[in-house]
Symmetry: C2
Subunit: 257 residues, 2 copies
């Protein structure tokens, strides 16, 4: 059994047959804290082992790039800790953040062999990295992993359509409220407290996500604070004081208040 990654399935105990450069750790995927909500959900221990053979862990510090638009799209990534922002730039530097990623989310889908957007750490990030080619080989063996990837891409597409509605048609106040609700439901999905809402990104990032300026974001948040809908906690986190009010604002009702 020269290569455990060929179609002849490797036995469960094959560390001695691994590439000599490093000892393969079969455990990281088994121990993965976000597996159940990631692209790796529903995999059998057997399948996880094959994944573990090709995966490498990676850490990225705040403000550092994971990859940049136009880079060769050599890998897919799964966020296991921290927060990532995805963005596109115009030649003159205007920036649009297309999404924030949290533990369990994946990134790296590309259409033309190249990434269509840049990815950067909002706070210290832990990732697992799947080199594309061997990953595809594994997924060819396990179609339901491909199906899972497809489901997650579909969810991303739906989120992108919501964001288009926000960017094209909502007011600044509605955008901020919608954003807070997004963070709440994202936290809920990951089993984290919905209140207070953690806001790991700075005002500039929020602005570039919502199609506004930092000043407008700041002013709008201040106004909602003044109105008693939210309150600011330490660390810049947001305490939602009037959930119904927030929901109403996001839905486009409640012009004042």
């Amino acid at each position: 059994m020269a290569d455990p990654r060929t179609r002849t399935l490797a036995s469960k105990t094959a560390p001695e047959a691994a590439p000599p450069k490093q000892v393969i750790d079969f455990d990281p995927c088994m121990r993965c804290n976000v597996r159940e909500m990631s692209v790796c959900a529903d995999l059998t221990p057997d399948e996880l082992e094959h994944l573990a053979e090709i995966v490498t862990d990676q850490t990225v510090d705040t403000g550092h790039a994971i990859f940049s638009e136009g880079d060769d799209a050599g890998s897919l990534f799964n966020v296991t800790g921290g927060v990532v922002k995805l963005y596109k730039l115009l030649p003159d530097g205007r920036r649009q953040i297309t999404g924030f990623l949290f533990p369990g989310d994946f990134l790296g889908l590309a259409v033309n062999e190249q990434y269509g957007y840049s990815a950067e750490a909002v706070e210290p990030v832990k990732l697992c990295r799947f080199p594309r080619v061997p990953l595809e080989r594994v997924m060819d063996r396990y179609p339901h992993m491909k199906a899972r990837l497809f489901t997650m891409a579909s969810n991303e597409l739906a989120a992108a359509q919501d964001q288009m509605l926000l960017l094209g048609r909502k007011t600044a106040r509605e955008r901020i409220a919608s954003f807070l609700l997004q963070l709440q439901s994202s936290a809920k999905r990951r089993g984290q407290p919905v209140n207070p809402v953690r806001l790991p990104m700075n005002r500039g990032d929020i602005a570039d996500f919502l199609g506004l300026t930092t000043e407008t974001v700041s002013r709008t948040i201040s106004a909602m604070k003044r109105a008693g809908v939210i309150a600011l906690r330490e660390g810049g986190n947001v305490d939602v004081r009037d959930q119904d009010g927030l929901d109403a604002i996001a839905a486009g009702e409640r012009a004042e208040a």
Copy 2:
């Protein structure tokens, strides 16, 4: 063989075992004029036959809905003629068009059993309709059809990200120019003339796609006409007179002119 659509694959000649209501036409997919650029590209005649068993043709008139947001997502569709718009609404009627679809494009992906957006005919549309459940059965047999669907969804996602950049960060002039370039490249991909550009949708639709108002769309087009970048032809089609100028405007260069 009571039902040819069970997992036991139907033989090649089974029209007598078909539902009595209508004679199955094995040809429509073989004759399909957009197959090569659709989700059905690269299928073998054998696979096409199985598709043909579940597909039904459909026609939708201008202004009529194909489905609406919240409907049960029972089918996927492939556009074979005409133009479709996809959109989302806010409770007060504000509308964001998330995309225009042309022959070869597909629609109907859904996340929760329900469509997340509405689809309507911009001009008379011809569709082929794949009921979801039998389609998934067929795709389970032919994984590369699933792969093709995944590729097209990825392309859609990339387009959505471009659109977010447009909606969040581009000026009205840049949006119009980008839109015209989009139509050009879409026409090119389908082997249609790039100039003049056909504009089958009205000003209101363009506005709701670009996050503007009809007035701003109209004024901006008039300004570009005055500047000699474009000219209007009959049918509302647009003749691009200065392609470099249009490219420059879309890229954010050229503040005046």
